[in-house]
């Protein structure tokens, strides 16, 4: 127990780094995922094909491979960065975007076809139909799965600890090395700080859902 208290500065540093990775990757993934979903239902065949290929490839690849690609392969190809956080954000947001895209697509599918037909009948273009009619309803229905994906993202960010980023899990490894006699407590501390992000996120989802839910 003492080990958690005396290591609070490290935990806090790791906590902030994890929060940063999850927040930035989460925002990028939400935007990119929604765009991918829009591409998936667009009338342009090439966009639909690209979106489908991206989602299928990335969603079915282990996250570790994505990290390996961003942290090791990209630099070999000449894309180097001095901060490994950038590699982590690339890997996490590229990976999570695929799942967001699928969630949004399922939301789009849940909106009755009649809505789109009605919108088109009053002369709306595809962009307008999607952004004014379909997506607002779709996004509301997919709040719970979306939050699940974001919670998974927070936990997935721990993989960064194995790819040169000193976040919560990275510090956990370091503390376990320093306190070989209290590894259990070190890990309890790590778990606590993850819960500090994920539990409120789940609660937030519940609140948002209650607010924006639409009765069908």
């Amino acid at each position: 127990m003492d080990v958690i208290i005396e290591s609070l500065p490290q935990y806090w540093d790791g906590f902030l780094r994890t929060l940063f990775l999850a927040a930035v990757s989460g925002i990028i993934a939400l935007v990119a995922g929604t765009l991918l979903a829009a591409a998936r239902v667009s009338p342009v065949a090439a966009l639909r094909g690209f979106s489908m290929a991206y989602v299928e490839v990335v969603r079915n690849t282990p996250l570790t491979i994505a990290f390996f690609f961003a942290a090791v392969v990209l630099p070999r190809l000449g894309v180097t960065f001095q901060q490994f956080e950038i590699a982590a954000i690339i890997a996490l947001s590229a990976y999570t975007a695929a799942f967001i895209a699928e969630a949004v697509r399922s939301g789009v599918n849940s909106v009755p076809v009649g809505q789109a037909e009605a919108a088109r009948s009053i002369g709306m273009k595809f962009g307008q139909v999607l952004s004014l009619i379909i997506l607002p309803q779709a996004l509301r229905t997919v709040i719970p799965p979306m939050i699940n994906i974001l919670i998974a993202l927070v936990k997935n960010s721990s993989v960064a600890g194995a790819f040169y980023v000193l976040e919560l899990f990275g510090y956990g490894k370091q503390l376990a090395n320093d306190h070989g006699d209290a590894v259990m407590w070190v890990l309890v501390g790590v778990a606590f700080f993850y819960l500090l992000i994920t539990v409120p996120l789940g609660y937030l989802a519940h609140q948002v859902e209650r607010k924006v839910a639409i009765a069908r």
């Binding site: 090791v72 630099p75 070999r76 490994f84 194995a162 040169y164 980023v165 370091q174 320093d178």
Partner: protein
């Protein structure tokens, strides 16, 4: 495990027999390409009852070393370990009148060294074995015969880093939670890029995402040895001290004193320097002086 050991023994026996045949076929001259073969002393005499006398009359000795530490103790495909530790072992055996092919090499990893000495599985251990007080309560140490220490490895074309002070504010890769990692951060102000293993540090170094990799010089020398065109040691100097000793049974003071005397004689007659140049000297150019023997 037992069956495995027996099998290895017979393999070793077969291998040494084959080598003996090859040697006699070519008139006893020339090496086998796996390190030197110091000439054994003819009929050495030791006081009765000492470990030296026991080993000399048995005509064979069991030495523990590492099999996976390049340049110090590494076992190749031919089954014979090579390296600086191995050379020291051979020199000691020769002083007991035992030729190199009568040495039985046993792999001792860091975790089993004290136990192997206590259980008598090995007569002595030369295996990048740092002398420290905790280990001294279990076994005795002759030596030190070499002082390893923390060093920096950089890309071959890097000339801006030659000493630890040069890495201030720069990215340096090391293993999470290791002593070298905290030294380079706390004493020299480097920015740590943590990795799970030292070999995981090689890619970021190659890609110039880190300026240097740091840990004990002997580990780094092993990496340089594998890829001499990509990496080099920033300097032969080390900035921490890890004295390597020869582990032997606790309380066998006569044996320990004898080993210490031999180490000093190797230093005087130049065989210490030659052993270095033949092995680790390939990477760490400056041959070390034998450190002051700790006759505690």
């Amino acid at each position: 495990m037992k069956a495995f050991l027996t099998r290895r023994k017979s393999l070793l026996a077969a291998a040494s027999a084959a080598i003996a045949l090859t040697l006699s076929a070519c008139g006893g001259g020339g090496g086998t390409g796996t390190g030197s073969n110091p000439t054994p002393v003819e009929k050495p005499s030791f006081a009765a009852g000492t470990t030296m006398e026991k080993l000399a009359s048995a005509g064979k000795v069991t030495i523990g070393t590492k099999f996976d530490q390049p340049l110090f103790g590494q076992k190749g495909l031919d089954g014979k370990p090579v390296g600086f530790d191995v050379e020291i072992g051979k020199l000691l055996a020769a002083k007991l009148g035992i030729p190199a092919d009568k040495i039985e090499w046993v792999e001792t990893v860091s975790a089993n060294r004290e136990q192997f000495i206590k259980q008598g599985k090995v007569d002595l251990i030369v295996a990048t074995y740092t002398i420290n007080d905790k280990r001294k309560t279990e076994v005795d140490f002759a030596g030190p015969y070499y002082e390893a220490g923390q060093a920096l490895m950089v890309n071959k074309d890097n000339t801006s880093i030659t000493k630890p002070e040069d890495v201030k504010g720069k990215n340096v890769c090391s293993v999470t939670g290791s002593t070298p990692a905290s030294t380079i951060v706390e004493k020299y102000g480097a920015v740590l890029v943590p990795a799970a293993t030292y070999s995981a540090c090689l890619e970021p170094l190659r890609n110039k995402q880190v300026e240097a990799v740091t840990t004990d010089n002997v580990i780094l020398a092993g990496f340089v040895n594998k890829e001499p065109d990509a990496f080099k040691l920033a300097s032969d100097e080390t900035f921490t001290k890890e004295p390597y000793g020869i582990g032997l049974k606790k309380g066998d003071t006569e044996f320990r004193n004898w080993v210490n005397d031999q180490l000093e004689s190797f230093s005087k007659d130049g065989s210490y320097k030659k052993a270095w140049e033949d092995t680790a000297g390939a990477v760490i150019k400056t041959a070390p002086e034998l450190p002051a023997i700790d006759r505690y």
